[in-house]
Symmetry: D3
Subunit: 290 residues, 6 copies
Amino acid sequence: MRFDEAYSGNVFIKSHPSYEESSVVLYGMPMDWTVSYRPGSRFGPTRIREVSIGLEEYSAYLDRELEEVKYFDAGDIPLPFGNAQRSIDMIEDYIDQVLGDGKIPFGMGGEHLVSWPVMKAIAKKYPDLGIIHMDAHTDLREEYEGEPLSHSTPIRKIAEHIGPENVYSFGIRSGMKEEFQWAKENGMHISKFEVLEPLKEILPTLAGRPVYVTIDIDVLDPAHAPGTGTVDCGGITSKELLASIHAIAHSDINVVGADLVEVAPIYDNSEQTANTASKLIREMLLGWVK
Amino acid sequence: MRFDEAYSGNVFIKSHPSYEESSVVLYGMPMDWTVSYRPGSRFGPTRIREVSIGLEEYSAYLDRELEEVKYFDAGDIPLPFGNAQRSIDMIEDYIDQVLGDGKIPFGMGGEHLVSWPVMKAIAKKYPDLGIIHMDAHTDLREEYEGEPLSHSTPIRKIAEHIGPENVYSFGIRSGMKEEFQWAKENGMHISKFEVLEPLKEILPTLAGRPVYVTIDIDVLDPAHAPGTGTVDCGGITSKELLASIHAIAHSDINVVGADLVEVAPIYDNSEQTANTASKLIREMLLGWVK
Amino acid sequence: MRFDEAYSGNVFIKSHPSYEESSVVLYGMPMDWTVSYRPGSRFGPTRIREVSIGLEEYSAYLDRELEEVKYFDAGDIPLPFGNAQRSIDMIEDYIDQVLGDGKIPFGMGGEHLVSWPVMKAIAKKYPDLGIIHMDAHTDLREEYEGEPLSHSTPIRKIAEHIGPENVYSFGIRSGMKEEFQWAKENGMHISKFEVLEPLKEILPTLAGRPVYVTIDIDVLDPAHAPGTGTVDCGGITSKELLASIHAIAHSDINVVGADLVEVAPIYDNSEQTANTASKLIREMLLGWVK
Amino acid sequence: MRFDEAYSGNVFIKSHPSYEESSVVLYGMPMDWTVSYRPGSRFGPTRIREVSIGLEEYSAYLDRELEEVKYFDAGDIPLPFGNAQRSIDMIEDYIDQVLGDGKIPFGMGGEHLVSWPVMKAIAKKYPDLGIIHMDAHTDLREEYEGEPLSHSTPIRKIAEHIGPENVYSFGIRSGMKEEFQWAKENGMHISKFEVLEPLKEILPTLAGRPVYVTIDIDVLDPAHAPGTGTVDCGGITSKELLASIHAIAHSDINVVGADLVEVAPIYDNSEQTANTASKLIREMLLGWVK
Amino acid sequence: MRFDEAYSGNVFIKSHPSYEESSVVLYGMPMDWTVSYRPGSRFGPTRIREVSIGLEEYSAYLDRELEEVKYFDAGDIPLPFGNAQRSIDMIEDYIDQVLGDGKIPFGMGGEHLVSWPVMKAIAKKYPDLGIIHMDAHTDLREEYEGEPLSHSTPIRKIAEHIGPENVYSFGIRSGMKEEFQWAKENGMHISKFEVLEPLKEILPTLAGRPVYVTIDIDVLDPAHAPGTGTVDCGGITSKELLASIHAIAHSDINVVGADLVEVAPIYDNSEQTANTASKLIREMLLGWVK
Amino acid sequence: MRFDEAYSGNVFIKSHPSYEESSVVLYGMPMDWTVSYRPGSRFGPTRIREVSIGLEEYSAYLDRELEEVKYFDAGDIPLPFGNAQRSIDMIEDYIDQVLGDGKIPFGMGGEHLVSWPVMKAIAKKYPDLGIIHMDAHTDLREEYEGEPLSHSTPIRKIAEHIGPENVYSFGIRSGMKEEFQWAKENGMHISKFEVLEPLKEILPTLAGRPVYVTIDIDVLDPAHAPGTGTVDCGGITSKELLASIHAIAHSDINVVGADLVEVAPIYDNSEQTANTASKLIREMLLGWVK
């Protein structure tokens, strides 16, 4: 019994107690106010942490244990409910600070729009940044029913910001005709339906480059991730997503930041989605942080 | 079989086909982006309409049938996801038009903030407007963690707009100390915990006045309305809420508009909350529209 | 805001407003009274329409948009609860009218027995009709515990009606020994367990023929369709079912009608089944209606 | 370990092993095909039995234990899915046999229509039969959308069969205007909204008479019975229903049969409805069988 | 943003950061291995903390704010899964330490057996201890199917330990005949069915005495607490339980420890039970800690 | 109607009425008290039996019907809640008796620890016993947080008992580093991630030997078995598990006992896990009992 310090509560399993000594910062971005379909991903980070207690600390895939990576779970960024612009600004400031302290940011969403300010902040530090994007949806809209700040727009924003040729999307199975056309006309890579095989082809071309990886949990088939805002059948299996994470781990790219977004626990009574997300984060930490 | 006209789809049971001939307009306000706890009330209006098919058209309480009231279900107002200010402006414009056409607005939420632009629009038409408010929460905050547009603020806004002495809250069991103090210091009526008995005392004092009635479904105990954003025990029963609606029906006030908000279907697998809401709306229509 | 016409309510996304101008009629058959296990598919069509709002209007698989196909969502046929014979007669009359008006019928169940009167009506118009049937179950019983009108019998009925050699079943993994024997002895085609590969072999043999396609959602593994009456493991993935729909789209058969049945929303809190069904219907419309 | 006899499986707790030695027969009527709203009560009896293992065998209300009453759980009557007429005939035959053997029938539904053939059979044996009916709904329709065999009709049928003046309904809060009028014009007793107080007034007038008691679980408020087909707010509490059962226990009427119907487990994840039903049946057995 | 200290994570709202400066220690006892019916209360404390974020910090009942009471959330005691004896020993040691440090223990269960070692430890410090027990069940068994360590036994154990005349049970509606007899023969107080009225009568007789209050959430009707192991209808409302807590707050007894047990979140998708529990704990802290 | 014998209740479909005449005994081991994560598997056997009514009696995979195998469903062993040691002893005694009577034991869990006493009993009868183990987890711990009786330990116990070289694990994707090392150093076979292919390689080496097969349902991906205690993504499909069962059926090993454990129904509202389990048991019976 330890009464000499505050109960550390619900943190991701094996989180390191010291921010200074950690090389990775794990944080939640509990925002879901611009989603056009089902909200609820604000509770994703909390539930992922809660169920992480059921995880093994060792990866049988990577033969590595969590204590070999120093990461600090900094909790959720306290975002202002219903104010998209202020939320985005706060996230960018937050990431600026994390990067300024020389840490690698690992984020948990929240809706996918949260990735935009993170990627923007990282692009300031890494001018030759590449983006690997796994998702069911293109997320290449300019606006959604008049709103430029929408969960349908983050990839368009970063593509315009760093150049579409530096953005690689995988597993895409839904979008507007115009989105696919824009990607094609602007030299952005989109792999439809599949992730692992096209990723293996792309990875060597990114060798040595700094890369941010953003994963929307709905790249998984709804069978494997029912707890998300937009369930879209025809997706990949969790086995394939794990293999894709491991392919990145075994590649020569330099992962300078990553996120996993759109876990919405309320739509999944079995909590398999949150449990899967916590295992994916374990593999991302063990595989991508050298 | 009628193929000669568009399938009228999912409308509230017995909705009249003509807007012009109707005296009441029933509409949904599918907004939930400023809520500080659990979102999901955007789907309230759709589900309330869907389950209304299970309703009897006759009220054994009021001995009246739905066909005796002409109301037009106008569907949901297409609000911009994640943009609170624009949503509020659109609702106010919408209500201006409904009132301009001489119709009585009956709204379905959505979060409670949607009531603010409705009440504001109605106050333009009825300078001596009174507000009857049934809720678990005071909703008297000036802002929520920096945001003035929050589901915690609508009653404060209307109270400041028309004068706190014209606002009567019932069933309140949660709020900040400062909210209760503000109400007390400014002459606003708050009945804590109870609805029916204090309402019966207040109603005669409002005789002849135009009154807007706004009901947050969480005035009910969670046992009676588990499907809402903030479940707060210690509430009233559905029997008491029905009796309160009937007390208004039997009073001499002039109901010039009404709403029922905060039904969030995803938290209630039995769908009792949506079913209850549809019955409450039936009783409101039958009891309050002469 | 459009107050000049009735709220069109809960219709399948992009449904055309005019029956006359449409080439396809989409309709629900909310019947589930003869099921031997779990009822609830009566609510399938309503929920499929409701969630269709989350669909993209463009298919990244077929490079086609919904507005390129004119279909009219005619709502649900109002079937008499608990009366199987009368329900079947009403459905047959309904389809007779749809066909008489030169429209292609696309149905949503409801239990699988509803396909029987549809196929019977279509066989009147197309004497050389072929049937493609995707299902976990043979549905070849003569009766179920004494009842000839049962969800276990529709394929037997149509096979006896148009000749077993014109019926092709795929994905079958459950049935009585006698059912498989009857098929074998009578020249009816059954592909056990698999759909895509055997379908690709059969399609060329049906080139140019009018074909009705009936899909029981339980051909999918329960992982991909938990919301159905009889969950039977060992099924195909949604990716495979999509590919099978596309194989038909790319074949030379003439789809003269189709249905998707047995979606029972209550057994699936994530609503992935209804969402999947709505995407399947989009692909069926885009791929099968030229 | 007893391997010398068949595993007795899922029977209501403390069921007596011998039919001959029992004075009460407990049976399920797993029929739900005529319901106009949500089906699923076919699984009511099975689930009630299953959860009965959580019951205490002693009633603190009646100071009596289950072993003081000999009842035989005969399982479910194997009704033909989707065939209302044949189901009703089978139930009547079944009850004829139970009554012929001198046993008291205690039934578990299933939809409310199952009570009709039971009451009809009992009326043959007891010409001066009275009916006590607790329900949210009148169930006095002649037919439902053209179907005379509907869950909305059983009380009308028995009222016409034994005379409306012998039927006493309690707790009624929903019905058509015509149903209430028919009751009024024909001398049938209806207590709206309340059960306990009006029941206490009626019971003395029935002293010494044979009475069948039929309880629709939806007489309870949905808060107390979310697991039913038609959830209708404004109902009584389980405390009040228990007290009503005890009022009958302490009266001088002769309970010659009883049922509890409309438990539909799928709509109640907490299983409180099935647990409540099993406790109600315990109290009915302990209180009504001398 | 505070990166200078470990994320304090999921603690009960407004928990004080210092153990030393706090007068109350709040702790979880995540044990559910001896329950005879439905397990799952091990997750009660975690979920209660998680949802406490939705609580107001001010009580409108007691006109007091949480910051007026200093309590330290010490997290869950790490109990050994499946070992009842060792768990009980660990809890007793834990409470000894809390009491030795001069703190008041407030526990969250877990199953009711966890209260036994707490009460035993407290009785060492307060020889004239009284127990107030609110529950649906007597919990007075000597053993359950051969096991003396069972969730059915804690009140019997403490009653034998401090004398049955010092134990007062309220709201009891289920138990074995022998349990009620034992209580009667040994001078232990049991109020059947009701809590508030008998409690008001008993409280003056306990004036000035140290009292431990143990509340099993199932004293509430399942309508108000569906998320518990044993749902037993006929219970009290949350309004009545709040009033009972307030009656103790306004009495002259000295609450020297308390617990709230048997919250099992998995059985309640609306999470009303955990939300209710967190509000009850707020009221217990504000009302019972002077 | 058969009133001449006790209602046989909820037994696995087509269970033979006579223990003596049966060659297989099917029994439940409703224990879940040592699980470290989510409990609830105590209800697995009951629910598997209940849903078995939805099974076909014929296997289209094996072309065999259930009546060709004589098995007796003996119900659940009445294990003492919360007492792991006594439970294990009772199970061992039970299996001793089953084996003594010359029957083959087929068990349904319950947590995985229940397999330990079964395997121990069988090893007494078959000195050259081999174990085939399908699972997501190694289950090779010596103890869990101090407890040697834990659901994480059964394979370690049997491996030490009969020699690690006789134990073959398949599908393993989680465990501690030490567990994998122990297996490697001691000659125990572990196939990581996959089941079918490595199993096909191993089976010939076991030809002619007596083998016990223990299947933890979580070897399936959570998509296929959400209703289990520890959901661990990256697993196999139900199609693959069925094929693995059939590979054993077509091999030359002698299955002398088997179990299927860890079905926890409460986490799966669709009940696909229990339905899948009942189908797996059908295939195990039809394929493994000659």
